[in-house]
Symmetry: none
Subunit: 135 residues, 2 copies
DNA sequence: TTGCGTGCAAAGGTTTTGCATGGCA
DNA sequence: TGCCATGCAAAACCTTTGCACGCAA
């Protein structure tokens, strides 16, 4: 994609406004429909895919039978995304995004002691989240 | 699922025979169709899901828009799950088991700081293994 | 003007579900 | 016998694609 279209712009704006969280294609479509802004679903999918290959947006395929998640990637976060991890609740399916230095230590440990380069994008830690734990 | 049906048995047998590799729901269906064994696709999906929640079979989602993969999990692999972690090499696909106290600390940290109960059975850490790293 | 981007609708592939029937315990 | 499991078909779900039209550069 080479042109700066209106659709592309408002999509990027929305992604930036949701920075720090994940957004699915459906979220995007719902948001624009609720705002009365018309945008085609194929445009959303195609632009998201473009933004991913441009490196502007990150795509997570956490689990099959859940939609892909997209997240705007900040310049500075681009440098070091090794401290972002994902938790997935096995009960409610919620995806939790955490930024934690202690978890970053795992990468270092695995690297130095087990000669394994962890891929934090791909890795999802499964378990039970706080609210499900209480029930 | 409480009953030992014929379909459940032959499905488990097939999964065991494929131990060490992944199998998709389609693979299962194709296999049985080729063998002349009739089994409904909903049965396959439902039994696979049951086996996963029983911990007998592992499910992973390599990528969205590819089907989910299932793999039979050996007894000894989940004798003591509390301090066993799994690493999966994204290059060669090798599954590595490690027993490591430092990794156990993750659970404690997630529990105390993030109120999240990690499930080490289900969790697979993705990355690049030593030998693939050298290449 | 050129050709990329858009929107619609339809197709694609995977997984889930409703309902009547079949089979285990 | 009482349930659970099965099978079929259809639906649901997310994503991709074909094609004509619109719009940025």
């Amino acid at each position: 994609m080479k042109y700066n279209t209106k659709q592309r712009e408002i999509l990027i704006d929305y992604l930036i406004s949701m920075k720090g969280g994940h957004v699915t294609a459906k979220d995007v479509l719902d948001h624009f429909r609720a705002s009365g802004i018309r945008i085609g679903q194929s445009t959303v999918y195609r632009q998201l895919e473009s933004l991913v290959s441009e490196g502007v947006v990150k795509k997570y395929s956490i689990d099959i039978s859940s939609p892909a998640c997209f997240e705007y990637e900040d310049e500075e976060e681009h440098d070091d995304h090794s401290d972002t991890f994902h938790l997935r609740c096995e009960k409610c399916g919620r995806l939790i995004h955490i930024d934690c230095n202690e978890l970053k230590d795992i990468s270092d440990h695995l690297s130095s002691e087990h000669s394994f380069s962890l891929d934090p994008i791909r890795t999802v830690l499964y378990g039970i989240c706080e609210s499900c734990r209480r029930n």
